[in-house]
Amino acid sequence: MAQGAVAIDRTAINSKTGISAALFVLALILLALGAVISRAEVGAGLGPSDWAAVRFTVLQAACSAVVSVFLAIPVARALARRRFIGRAALVTLLGAPFILPVIVAVLGLLAVFGRSGWLNAALEAVGLPTVSIYGFHGVVLAHVFFNMPLATRLLLQGWQTVPSERLRLVAQLRLTPRAIFRAVELPMLAQVVPGALALVFVICLTSFAVALTLGGGPRATTIELAIYQAFRFDFDLGRAAVLSVVQLVLAGSMALIALWLVPVVRVGGGLDRVMPRWDARSGLQLVMDGCVIALAALFLLVPLAAVIWRGLLGLPQMPAEVYAAAGTSISIAVTSILVLLVLALPMAGWIAGRKGGAVETIGLLGLSASPLMIGTGWFIVINPIADPFDFTLLVTILVNAMMALPFALRILVPPMRDAVAQYERLSAILGISGWRLWRVVLLPRLRAQIGFAAGLTGALSMGDLGVIALFADPEQATLPLQMVRLMGAYRMDAAAGAALVLLALSLGIFWICDKGGRWRAEA
C-alpha cells in the first residue's frame, strides 16, 4: 500500500557547501582555461610538428583502444564461462593497473620488452632480430597494458548481464559455440564494445607519462608531451597555450561523446559471480579459454614480477634523494586525499539530493581538462604575481584531487542516494540535520566507499607524473619524477629500486584507506 514514495518537501542535505565545492572546481578549470586562451597566439596557428602531435595523439589513442578492447573480448569471454582456482584473484588483478603508477608499469614493460629486456634476450638467443619498444608501438603496448584489463572488466560486466535463462535455452537447443556467439554474445557485445572503445580512447588521448618515457621525437609525441616540451624546453608559453586549447577541444569533445557511450563503471566488486554455463564444454574450447587466460595473466604479471625482481636488486643503489622524494610523494598523496574528500563529499551530497545527474558533468570536466593544460594555465595566472615554482606542491595537490574527482563522485553518489532515500525521514523526525547529519548518518553509512575513493585518490596522486614535471625545480621532486630523472641519467638499477618503493607506497596507501573504510563496518 505504501502509496509510492512519499514526496519529501525538504532536502536533508544542505546544498550550499556542495554548490560551493562545484563552483570552486569549475573556477579552477575556467581560470586555467581563460589564462591559456588569453596567451594563445591564434594567428600563429599550428606548425607542422604540432599537427604531427595531433595526428599521433589521435592515431595512438585509436589504435590503443581497438587493440585493448579486441584483446579483452576473448579474455572476458573465457573468464565469464570458466571457473577455476585463482579466478577471483585474477579478476582483482584486472583492477590493479588502475592504481598502478604509470611510470612503474613502464619500467616493468622495459624490463620485459626493452632493448636489453627478457624478450630481446630470448630473441637473440635463438638468432632472431631484436625489437625496439620505443615509438608508436611502445606507446600502444603500454596503453594496452593499462587498458586491456579495464576493458576486460567492462566486458565481463556485459557478459554478466546476459540472463541465465537465455544460457539455459541455448544449452537445450545444443547450439554450436559459434551459434551461441552470434545469438547471445554478439548482441551483448554490440552494446558494450562502443562504450569500452570510447572510454579507452579518451583515457589515451591525454596520455603523458607513457609518451614521455616511451615516445618522444618528432614521430611519437602526444599533444600533452608537446605542451610539456614547449613549456619546459623552449619556455614558449604561447605555443604551450595553443596546444592546451587544442588538447582541451579534442579531449573535451571526445569526453562528451564518450559520456553517451560509456557504461557505468562498477568499481567495486560484484564480478566474482560465476554464471552457470552449460555450453562450451568441448576440449578445444576449454584449451582455447585456458590459453587466453594464461596469456592475459602472463601479460599482466610478468612486467609486475620484473618490477619487483629488478627493484629488489636495485634497492641498495638508490641515492638519498629517493627517500626525500618518497616523503614528498607521501605528503602530497595524503593532502590530495583530504582536498578530494572536502570537495567530493559535499558535491556528492548535493548531487544525491537532486533528481537528475546533470551535475556529475562538472566532475567529469576534470577528466577532459588535462593536467598539463591546467598547470600551464595556472602558471600563466601566477607568473605575473609571484614565482610559480613556489606553488608547485599546491598546484599538484589541487590537480591530483581534481583528476580523482570524477571517479570519487561515481563511487560516492550512488550510496549517498541510498543513504538519503533510506534515512532522510528518520533523520528529519529526529532533528538530525546539517553537520550532525554528516557525522551521525552519512559519513558512517558511506565509510567503505569513502575509504575506497580515498585509496584511489591516494594511489593516483602517489603515482602521478603530470603537473609536477611541468613545475618542479631541480631540488624538488616527487618519487615518480625522481624515477624519470634516474632513468634519464641511465641509472636503471636505482630507478628500479625507486619503482619498487613507489609500487609499495601506491598499493600501501590504497590498501590502508580501503581496509580502514571497511574495518569493522556494519552493513
Partner: protein, 230 residues
C-alpha cells in the same frame, strides 16, 4: 489536541481532504483501501508532505509549516527505523540528543527505556544482530524517551508474524499509556483495530473521514467500509 482545518493534500493527480480533531491520550487506527492515501495522511501530519490548502494546529499553535522535528510528534516508518551502524543505545539516545552526546542523566533515561522493552542486555548490540521483534522494540524505546504527545505508526510491524505483531501492539499500548500520548496507526488488519484502537479514521474516495468510535464502527460498518472489509 491536533486540529486539521479544511486540509487538502495533493500529490500529482492524487487529492485528499481532511477536517477533524485528534484528542490527547486516544488511540486512532487509520484504515482504508490500498492507495487511498493512509501513508500520505501520516506524512502530512508529520510534515513530510506539504499541505496544499488548510491549516494544522497543535493546541493553539499553527504548525502547518513546521519542520518534522519541530512538531509535537514522532513517527515509526514501515522500515529503516534504526541506523544499522549505531548501537541500540545510540539509536535510542538519538531520541534525546540528535548529536549523540548524551549526559549521564540522559544515558540513564535511555537505559530505563531499554529495560522497559526488555532489551537491557542489548545496549551495545548493533541492530543487525537483533531479531525483527527486538528491532521493533528498540524503535519503541526511542518513542518512549522522545515522549512526544503524538505517536504516528505507519505499519511498522507489517513484516512481523501475527503473534509477534500482537505482542508489539501490546508494547505500543503500554508505551503510549506511559507517556500519555495520542497514537495514530495505519493498519490493514481489522483485528488490530479491535485490539488497540479507540477510534477509526477511514480513508477512502479522496477523503480522510473524521474519527468514529472503533467498536461501534467495526460492528456496524457503513456501506463503503463494509465493501473494504469484505
Amino acid at each position: 489536541m491536533l486540529k486539521l482545518e479544511d486540509v487538502l493534500i495533493t500529490q500529482g493527480d492524487f487529492r485528499m481532504q481532511a477536517d477533524f480533531t485528534l484528542e490527547v491520550g486516544r488511540k486512532y487506527a487509520v484504515i482504508g483501501p490500498s492507495g487511498a492515501g493512509k501513508s500520505t495522511l501520516l506524512g502530512a501530519l508529520c510534515g513530510f508532505v506539504p499541505l496544499a490548502a488548510g491549516r494544522m494546529y497543535w493546541e493553539e499553535r499553527d504548525i502547518s509549516n513546521a519542520a518534522p522535528n519541530a512538531r509535537p510528534m514522532t513517527m515509526l516508518f514501515q522500515d529503516n527505523n534504526l541506523f544499522p551502524h549505531l548501537s541500540v543505545l545510540q539509536n535510542v539516545g538519538l531520541g534525546l540528543r540528535p548529536d549523540l552526546r548524551l549526559t549521564a542523566q540522559e544515558r540513564e533515561t535511555v537505559e530505563n527505556a531499554l529495560s522497559r522493552v526488555d532489551l537491557s542486555n542489548f545496549a551495545t548490540a548493533k541492530p543487525g544482530t537483533l531479531s525483527g521483534g527486538q528491532q521493533s522494540r528498540v524503535a519503541l524505546a526511542r518513542v518512549l524517551v522522545q515522549a512526544r504527545p503524538l505517536v504516528l505508526l505507519d505499519e511498522p510491524f507489517a513484516a512481523l508474524g501475527p503473534a509477534l505483531r500482537n505482542e508489539m501492539l501490546d508494547v505500543v499500548r503500554d508505551t503510549v499509556a506511559q507517556t500519555g500520548a495520542a497514537m495514530v496507526m495505519v493498519t490493514h488488519a481489522p483485528e488490530d483495530v479491535r485490539r488497540i484502537a479507540d477510534e477509526v479514521i477511514f480513508v477512502e474516495g479522496g477523503r480522510a473521514h473524521a474519527p468514529r468510535p472503533a467498536a461501534a464502527l467495526m460492528d456496524d460498518p457503513p456501506p463503503e467500509l463494509r465493501a473494504y472489509l469484505g
